[in-house]
């Protein structure tokens, strides 16, 4: 079993040691929103409703689905989402 390891911070330490999250977008105007179904039960119902609401607001939506919720998304799917969407919403639980 590998031990927990420690690295020494090479930076000026002006930022938090925790990795920052990507900044949230302030508006969806002109952006494409991906809706990712992880293939858990009823995730599609939730995403259908989200899609409906976005379309009412004129937001561009693209749908994606993982083959199975038990594994991480395949690389090709991740690449597809990264190149086609600005924002992603995932339906996580059932």
């Amino acid at each position: 079993m590998k031990r927990n390891s420690v690295l020494l911070d090479p930076t000026s330490e002006r930022a938090s040691a925790k990795r920052p999250r990507l900044a949230r977008v302030s508006t969806l105007d002109g952006l494409t929103v991906g809706l990712l179904d992880i293939s858990k039960a009823r995730g599609d119902v939730f995403l259908d409703r989200i899609e409906e609401r976005f379309k009412e607001q004129g937001v561009t939506v693209k749908r994606f689905a993982k083959p199975t919720f038990t594994r991480v998304a395949p690389l090709d799917l991740r690449k597809l989402i990264a190149t086609q969407c600005h924002v992603i919403i995932e339906a996580l639980a059932d």
């Binding site: 420690v6 690295l7 020494l8 000026s12 002006r14 040691a17 990795r19």
Partner: protein, 479 residues
């Protein structure tokens, strides 16, 4: 007399013939009622049939007692060491144990083996674990399943290539490469103007892949980069290609195995590659200068990963760059130049300095633009086969520089905007002037390269020189 206050400690390991030799000694000590603790360094089951064996495979006690060789016997009284026998020395073991007829059948003396705690690479690990080593840098804890190399990418610490994860032991090892204290402030690093300590440089030098003996060179390079004349902030921020080019002179080149020969400006030599990279990582991580942030380069150049080489002083027809810049003989220096990539100079036919210098002048004219003058400095890297032409004709470096300056005087009317059908050029009021390509002192000449090839190289400079931009700076390398 308090028996309990006296303690006998013996350190050993199975992988040591002398330790195996003295196992009967331990049994004799036990049979005579001598209390002792045997700290085993490699095998908790060693030695068999001996009381008082303690597992020290983590090497904590070995580290604390600074064991250098095994077996070692230490006598402690009232918590203080009063005697130590290193290796098997019968007379000393008899004295320390108080058993006067100890092991008469053994030879008087057998040297021991190196202790496990002083094996290469282990000393720093143990110092970090048991030695209360304090670092100024923040610790970043990774989970057991986090890949340490990926963690460095994820945190934005790399230049795009993998780095060596800066563990405390590696940083401690790196710091042994300098006599300077870890907390010493070396420079204030742009663009964020952060005080940079020796330790922060060591952390970044570890990541760049440096060996500890390169650290003084990296420290000098950081000092030089942060000198006001070098203008590192502007160099970083410019849309132009340039970045710091590190040229090393003096005895340290050979001591740390730098390359000044074949492929001197290319890949493959650890010192060349990692010293230049460490400087860039300091600018990135400590200074906060990142591409797309303060670094606004339109195209950049591959030398911004690393661009560092040594001058071939031994094979040079001329005095070194360092000597020319006022450095005493025997000293080592870094000279930093705000340079672009490498532009090749081809001339396989010139056998006279007059002809070859004309080739150099023609090629140097194209630095930045043939119709732009006194805007960029340049470094001309003269190879051995080209250098020989000047050497055989007795041309000094100063002579070559003067000839090049004369050859690169251009009529203003060829240089002004619109001349030759090219909109770019100097302002119209230069039309009647004679224009030198480089400002005085703006052309540097160094010697490097493999012995075969009638080629030299031009490293063009940033389009902002002197007081309005960057000047080459030289800094002595300390210890």
């Amino acid at each position: 007399m308090s028996v309990a206050s006296t303690e006998l400690m013996i350190f050993g390991k199975r992988d040591c013939p002398t330790c195996i030799l003295i196992v009967p000694v331990l049994r004799q000590l036990a049979s005579e009622g001598v209390q002792f603790t045997f700290y085993t360094q490699d095998d908790p089951a060693f030695p068999e049939d001996v009381p008082g064996v303690v597992d020290d495979t983590e090497l904590e006690q070995s580290f604390r007692f600074a064991i250098e060789a095994v077996p070692t016997m230490i006598k402690v009284e009232q918590g203080r060491e009063v005697g130590r026998a290193v290796g098997w020395k019968r007379s000393e073991w008899r004295l320390l144990s108080g058993v006067s007829d100890l092991a008469p059948e053994l030879p008087e003396y057998r040297p021991g083996c190196g202790a496990k705690n002083v094996e290469p690479g282990l000393a720093e690990e143990l110092a970090v674990r048991f030695g209360n080593v304090a670092f100024g840098s923040r610790s970043i804890d990774l989970t057991a399943h986090e890949d340490d190399s990926e963690a460095c990418f994820d945190r934005g610490w790399t230049d795009g290539l993998p780095v060596v994860p800066p563990t405390p032991a590696r940083v401690l090892r790196m710091l042994q490469g300098t006599t300077r204290k870890p907390g010493d402030v070396v420079a204030v690093v742009p663009p964020d103007l952060v005080e940079c300590t020796v330790e922060k440089i060591a952390v970044n030098a570890v990541m760049a892949g440096c060996r500890p003996e390169y650290l003084p060179v990296v420290i000098a390079a950081v000092e030089a980069a942060c000198m006001d004349e070098f203008c590192m902030h502007g160099l970083l921020a410019t849309t132009w290609f340039a970045g710091p080019v590190v040229i090393v002179n003096g005895p340290i080149r050979r001591q740390i195995g730098m390359n000044s020969g074949i492929n001197a400006l290319g890949q493959g030599n650890r010192a060349n590659a990692t010293i230049g990279r460490a400087l860039q990582l300091v600018i990135r991580n400590v200074g906060g200068g990142k591409p797309g942030g303060v670094d606004r380069a339109t195209l950049g150049n591959p030398g911004k990963y690393t661009f560092c080489f040594a001058e071939d002083e031994e094979g040079s027809p001329w005095e070194s760059l360092a000597k020319e810049r006022g450095t005493d003989e025997g000293k080592s220096t870094v000279t930093l130049f705000a340079g672009d990539g490498v532009q090749g100079v081809f001339d396989q036919l010139s056998r006279t300095p007059e002809s070859l210098s004309k080739t150099f002048a023609a090629c140097l004219r194209s630095v930045a633009h043939p119709k732009i003058a006194m805007a960029s400095d340049a470094v001309l890297v003269v190879s051995p086969e080209h250098g020989r032409v000047f050497h055989e004709a007795g041309w000094t470096k100063e002579r070559l520089k003067q000839e090049l300056m004369m050859l690169m005087l251009y009529p203003g009317k060829e240089m002004v905007r619109g001349a030759g059908g090219i909109a770019e050029g100097l302002p119209e009021h230069f039309a009647d002037a004679t224009i030198p390509k480089f400002r005085p002192g703006g052309l540097h000449i160094v010697h490097a390269g493999g012995k075969a090839g009638l080629f030299s190289a031009i490293i063009g400079g940033w389009l902002a020189t002197g007081a309005m931009g960057s000047s080459a700076v030289t800094r002595e390398i300390g210890t």
